[in-house]
């Protein structure tokens, strides 16, 4: 039972409560750094590190932190992890760090992270909080990657820098520019909502059929 519960917390972040597709959180990095798959994954990993780390600390100390200063404490914890991620990336992969630029420090302001601390980590035991953070971060990573992959494939004819269509491919320049982020995100959200709509419709049909079956 216990195992199932934490598993459940992990899964919900990836699909049902996906931070991007369902909650539309964290739009700033989502649109800004997804012009290539590598950047998207680096951003996703950095966010995962910060989110899991701060959820762990916040949940562990949830009974120690007084509620009057909880937001300040969350921010201190988050900012510390962000700084650690910033310097680590700068030392290990300077190229990627240059591409991501100001958006690494801006993880502090990602409402996805503060939101999870306030809504979940500060109220639930450590194990569940970490699973929830992992799930949300994976959902965010999946969203970043799907956007980054689409934009890199169309905008550069490549994935992870490997050319897919040969040299004569005509790149869609707009996909690498900011408008491409909005367009791609819009189309992905469209499909996500269309899928949910169809699913609800289907469930409604099933329910109605069952009801009429029971009546008859």
């Amino acid at each position: 039972m216990k195992k199932n519960e934490s598993y459940e917390e992990f899964l919900k972040g990836i699909w049902r409560d996906n931070p991007v597709f369902a909650q539309v959180l964290g739009m700033c990095p989502m649109l800004a750094v997804t012009n290539s798959a590598v950047n998207a994954i680096a951003m996703g990993m950095a966010t995962m590190f910060v989110l899991v780390g701060s959820s762990f600390l916040v949940s562990t100390f949830r009974n120690v932190i007084p509620k009057q200063v909880r937001i300040s404490c969350f921010i201190i914890i988050i900012a510390t992890f962000v700084t650690i991620a910033d310097y680590t990336l700068l030392a290990l992969v300077p190229g990627v760090h240059k591409e991501l630029g100001a958006f690494i420090p801006l993880i502090v302001a990602n409402c996805l992270i503060l939101g999870r601390q306030e809504a979940f980590a500060s109220r639930y035991p450590t194990k569940l909080a970490v699973m929830d953070a992992l799930g949300m971060a994976c959902g965010f990573l999946v969203a970043l990657f799907s956007l980054g992959a689409v934009r890199e494939i169309l905008g550069d004819g490549a994935l992870f820098g490997v050319k897919l269509f040969g040299d004569s491919f005509e790149p869609w320049v707009i996909m690498i520019l900011p408008p491409g982020g909005f367009l791609t995100l819009g189309v992905i959200l469209l499909f996500f909502n269309w899928f949910k709509y169809k699913k609800d419709e289907f469930l409604d049909d099933v329910a109605r059929a069952e009801r009429s079956g029971a009546d008859g």
């Binding site: 004569s168 005509e170 869609w172």
Partner: protein, 337 residues
């Protein structure tokens, strides 16, 4: 509800009807564009026909695909989608690969019309939105102008590029009069500007034939004359003032009017009833705004041509213009605030 022999007929106003319907207006605009299109085919050859056909097809496919299943035929039959495709095609370079023109038509309808809720709800002119998308997506192909070959009905090499592939090594590329003026200080003779024989988009070759179509539309009462008149007058005036300062550096008024896509934009795109103000005063404001923006972009901006962005920007301002130019209802006090 649908009684076949009603005993009492109930009507509400309006009781007088005109035959001014959406399909009729759309048909009129298409007819008005035919002479200029024919001129384009003469100057640019079959390539222009292919680009136009691809862009119209793209628009039609999108229109069909995104219409509710019940009204699929109807949305195509009113002709507005086809007109969008035609207008977009006229703003494209004749050597553009067909797949890009198709994509442009598709995007015009999707982003320009369908997501806003269909005809009548869109904020921006769909054809220009499609062109803006293409210009941002394929900046090189969209600014490669083939050399004109009057009377030779050939296909441009770029037209037949495979989907998603480049136009290939281009041969000789020409330049537009505006590009020549901006980057090489060369003035194109006015006669060539007015009757065609200049490089540029498919629809902008022949200024005189575009004007002819405009007069036809005005006679048929299909367009608000205030918009093209105010745009052209503003551009001419702006140009005149600049020329008085420095005749060497700035374009003459007639050159400004006949070069680039100004006539096409002013007569056929800025007058789109959906995306331009409905009040007469608003139409003047709209036209003057477009004219000023065109000149600002052309003369002081980085791009040689600015009609597209000027109209799109003023499209965005249209709801605001409409709001502040509402006529006072007869008998009501003027608002004191």
């Amino acid at each position: 509800m649908t009684d076949k022999e009603p005993r009492l007929l109930l009507f509400h106003a309006p009781l007088l009807r005109q035959d001014m319907t959406t399909p009729r207006t759309m048909r009129d605009v298409i007819v008005a564009l035919l002479p200029a299109t024919a001129a384009a085919v003469w100057y640019f050859g079959l390539g222009a026909v292919l680009v136009l056909a691809a862009s119209i097809l793209g628009a039609a496919v999108a229109e069909w695909l995104f219409a509710p299943r019940a009204s699929r035929g109807a949305s195509l039959r009113d002709g507005s989608g086809l007109l969008t495709g035609l207008l977009l095609g006229l703003t494209l370079p004749p050597g553009l690969p067909m797949w890009m023109a198709f994509l442009g038509g598709f995007v015009s309808i999707c982003l320009g019309k369908v997501i806003w809720g269909g005809l009548g709800h869109n904020l921006f002119n769909p054809a220009l939105l499609g062109r803006a998308f293409l210009l941002a997506t394929f900046p090189i192909a969209m600014t490669t102008w083939p050399v004109i070959t009057p009377g030779e009905f050939g296909v441009q090499a770029g037209n037949l590029a495979l989907p998603f592939m480049q136009a290939g090594a281009d041969g000789v590329s020409g330049a537009t009069p505006l590009g020549l003026f901006k980057f090489e200080q060369q003035v194109t003779p006015l006669a060539e500007l007015a009757f065609g024989k200049i490089g540029g988009s498919i629809g902008e070759t022949s200024g005189a034939l575009l004007l002819l179509g405009g007069v036809y539309l005005w006679i048929r009462r299909d367009l608000d004359w205030r918009i093209p008149v105010s745009i052209l007058a503003t551009v001419a005036l702006f140009s005149l003032v600049l020329v008085l300062f420095d005749a060497e550096r700035f374009p003459a008024p007639l050159f400004s009017i006949f070069s680039g896509g100004l006539l096409l934009g002013a007569i056929y795109m800025a007058t789109d009833p959906v995306t331009s103000p409905v009040t007469p005063k608003g139409a003047w404001i709209f036209g003057i705004g477009v004219g000023v923006l065109v000149m600002l972009i052309r003369v002081f901006g980085g791009l040689p041509e600015g009609v597209m962005y000027a109209i799109l920007l003023m499209n965005a301002a249209t709801p605001l213009i409409d709001r502040y130019t509402q006529p006072r209802v007869f008998g009501h006090e003027a608002e004191s605030s």
